[in-house]
């Protein structure tokens, strides 16, 4: 019997988070909590793709830190810009 690979679980979680984001978009929900939740789920998705699809979970920290910094900086600044729009 073949074992389910870790990348299959990762793929499934990524699909679930995408469906969650789609439902939120379909309902046209807004507000700081919704924005924070969607951005957090995007951060998780990005980290999962980087770690498990790109294989960065096996590489030295000096390389990982570039990718993690990019994700945190871009998603963090998007969140900050959206919070300005709420005022």
């Amino acid at each position: 019997m073949s074992q389910i690979r870790p990348c299959t679980y990762v793929w499934f979680i990524l699909i679930l988070l995408t469906v969650f984001a789609f439902v939120v978009g379909k309902l046209e929900l807004g507000g700081i909590t919704i924005i924070a939740t969607i951005l957090l789920s995007t951060l998780i998705k990005g980290q999962m793709v980087a770690d498990y699809f790109m294989g960065l979970h096996r590489v030295r920290w000096k390389w990982k830190i570039i990718m993690y910094s990019w994700l945190l900086l871009v998603i963090g600044l998007i969140g900050f810009a959206y919070s300005l729009g709420l005022k």
Binding site: C7, A21, G25, E28, T42, G46, F53, W70
Partner: protein, 194 residues
């Protein structure tokens, strides 16, 4: 827990050719600036951005996200196959990934055609300027990624890669995952959050 994982897995350098990673980090920098520019531009005219965003077909965005994630998953399987010295299986997974890439392009072209048919272009408003330029820029990256994957597929079919020599497959795979990663941020940014 983290320590036990890192001790059990040897730390290594980046997968694939190092040159592709310079390219990947440069691409991420450009896309990152684009995303941040979109978000700050939106803060000056939230109502316009929200109204324009409502005209987008979110189903297209969501389906394309699922398509690209699945395509990336197929590429992971292609890399695993070649590491196992299974060239034919690697070719099959790459073919499946390319098929998903083609689906992405078709859906995106339907979306572009719909917008252009409605008379929408980059001059319509700031939202559409960002929407069209960002998604078209990404569209071009999908095409480039597919060209790279096709070249790898043909070489793999000729037995050009093995368990010992599969740097080329990892190089193409890394680029394809970057294309997926960028879309993962682009999708909620353009289609969802408001």
């Amino acid at each position: 827990m983290v320590n036990s994982i890192s001790k059990s897995q040897p730390q290594s350098d980046l997968p694939g050719d190092f040159a592709i990673w310079i390219f990947i980090f440069a691409e991420l920098l450009v896309f990152g600036i684009f995303f941040i520019a979109y978000a700050f531009a939106r803060s000056y005219d939230v109502e316009l951005f929200n109204a324009s965003q409502s005209t987008l077909t979110r189903e297209f965005g969501a389906i394309n996200t699922i398509v690209l994630i699945t395509s990336s998953f197929f590429v992971v399987r292609a890399v695993a196959a070649i590491k196992n010295d299974s060239s034919q299986i690697c070719v099959n997974w790459l073919g499946a990934a390319l098929f998903m890439g083609a689906i992405f392009l078709v859906i995106k072209m339907i979306e572009f055609y719909g917008k252009f048919s409605e008379g929408i272009n980059m001059s319509t408003n700031t939202f559409y300027m960002f929407y069209l330029s960002l998604t078209f820029f990404h569209f071009m990256h999908v095409i480039l990624g597919m060209v790279i994957l096709t070249a790898i597929l043909f070489k793999a079919r000729q037995g050009g890669y093995s368990a010992k020599d599969h740097t080329g497959v990892e190089t193409g795979a890394s680029y394809w995952h970057m294309v997926d990663l960028v879309w993962i941020i682009l999708f909620p940014l353009i289609y969802i959050i408001r």
